[in-house]
């Protein structure tokens, strides 16, 4: 009688069924191949993780916070599901850990000593009303912020935020967080200039589901 051995249940012939050698070897071959194919699929999903980088420009009122609605384009995109959409306000419909980052630069108006510029990336739960998608009293789940304090006139044009890691599958956030949104907002002060032009980039990298985090 054939016995199944080990956690992978490899069949092992008994002394009564040696006539089944050919069938036995075929079973082992197919079982090993099935396990290898499954392992390769996991490896492939890690290697081919979604990553996307958007770029954009916008004019913002000085001293205010504002959401950036749309991107000017996609810098590059690998393995990024089409259902995620093209806009900066992207929907994250894959559960797991993500890494967000942004690089932002003011392209006009010399800064004034003592003023600051603040850049923010926020992650909102799905179906958040637009009225709550703001940086001050919004329903954000996570904010990534960077601030630059000008110490010398003419310097400090850019702000840079390298993001944290966020897990939409965190139990404190809940099951319904598939469909999280990325929103971007800028608050700046630059010495009374009424409108400041920014350009920059935002990126999102899928790190994996909870059991297979790696970067």
């Amino acid at each position: 009688m054939t016995e199944l051995i080990g956690t992978h249940e490899i069949p092992c012939l008994s002394d009564t069924d040696y006539a089944a050698y050919a069938l036995y070897m075929q079973c082992v071959a197919e079982q090993v191949e099935a396990q290898l194919v499954a392992n390769a699929a996991v490896a492939d999903s890690v290697l081919h993780r979604p990553i996307r980088m958007w770029f954009y420009t916008d004019d913002l009122p000085d001293g205010s916070a504002a959401l950036l609605g749309g991107a000017d384009g996609v810098q590059f995109s690998l393995n990024y599901p089409a259902t995620f959409g093209n806009s900066i306000a992207a929907t994250l419909n894959r559960r797991g850990w993500w890494r967000f980052g942004m690089l932002y630069r003011c392209t006009s108006s010399a800064p004034v000593v003592g003023n600051n510029r603040l850049v923010t990336v926020a992650i909102f739960p799905p179906n958040t009303p637009s009225s709550l998608r703001n940086m001050n009293d919004g329903a954000w789940s996570l904010k990534l912020q960077d601030i630059a304090w000008e110490t010398n006139t003419g310097g400090g044009e850019s702000l840079y935020t390298q993001a944290e890691v966020y897990n939409p599958g965190d139990p404190t956030v809940g099951e319904n967080d598939l469909g999280m949104r990325i929103e971007v907002a800028i608050a700046c002060e630059s010495g009374g200039v009424e409108t400041v032009t920014f350009n920059g980039a935002l990126w999102a990298i899928y790190l994996g589901d909870t059991p297979s985090i790696s970067i």
Partner: protein, 183 residues
């Protein structure tokens, strides 16, 4: 007539075939090859390309001039990305894909006024991202951004400063590239 599995080619005898030592050897050999391939599939994940190079000696950076920084030491490299015999300034990409590129340098003390300090990352001489600040000397400046890179791409970090006085140089510097995603 022996048959084989569709993907990994594990060869096994069919009903009616003679099962002799040669048939068993073929089975074992092809099974071993399949397991070796499976191991390679996993190692593509656990051994993704990673490289970093460094230098500590002072390097001159002329005021208001973007300057490619150079390196003297391979810190680590599992994909032939660091080749100081070919380039002392560039990481040379060997595997296409998305990378997180990170660079940092230290600005030594002695500047009278620092109006701005730039960290610039380039690919084939084209700027990919820049951070400009006006903080202070005797500190580290760093920048990290993702890049979609092709085989042969040259990744460099540049330093630039404006102000007055100072040693007009940078000291300890690092440049690294870490493979994030396959195309």
């Amino acid at each position: 007539m022996p048959s084989s599995t569709a993907i990994y080619g594990i060869t096994y005898p069919c009903s009616g075939d003679t099962i002799d030592p040669a048939a068993l050897a073929t089975f074992a050999t092809t099974l071993d090859a399949a397991l070796t391939q499976g191991q390679a599939d996993l190692e593509r994940v656990t051994s993704r390309p990673n490289a970093q190079m460094s230098a500590t000696a002072s390097q001159a950076v002329v005021i208001n001039t973007s300057t490619d920084l150079t390196y003297t030491t391979e810190v680590y490299d599992n994909d032939g990305i660091v080749n100081l015999g070919v380039s002392t300034s560039a990481l040379i990409i060997q595997t296409a894909g998305a990378y997180l590129v990170w660079g940092s340098f230290r600005l030594p003390s002695g500047f009278t006024t620092l109006t701005s300090v730039n960290v610039i990352l380039t690919v084939n001489g084209i700027e990919q991202g820049r951070d400009i600040t006006s903080n202070d000397d005797d500190i580290e400046y760093a920048l990290s951004i993702p890049m979609n890179l092709q085989v042969g791409d040259l990744v460099r970090m540049q330093a630039r400063w404006t102000g007055t006085g100072g040693p007009a140089s940078v000291t300890t510097r690092l440049l690294s590239a870490s493979y994030v995603a396959a195309p």
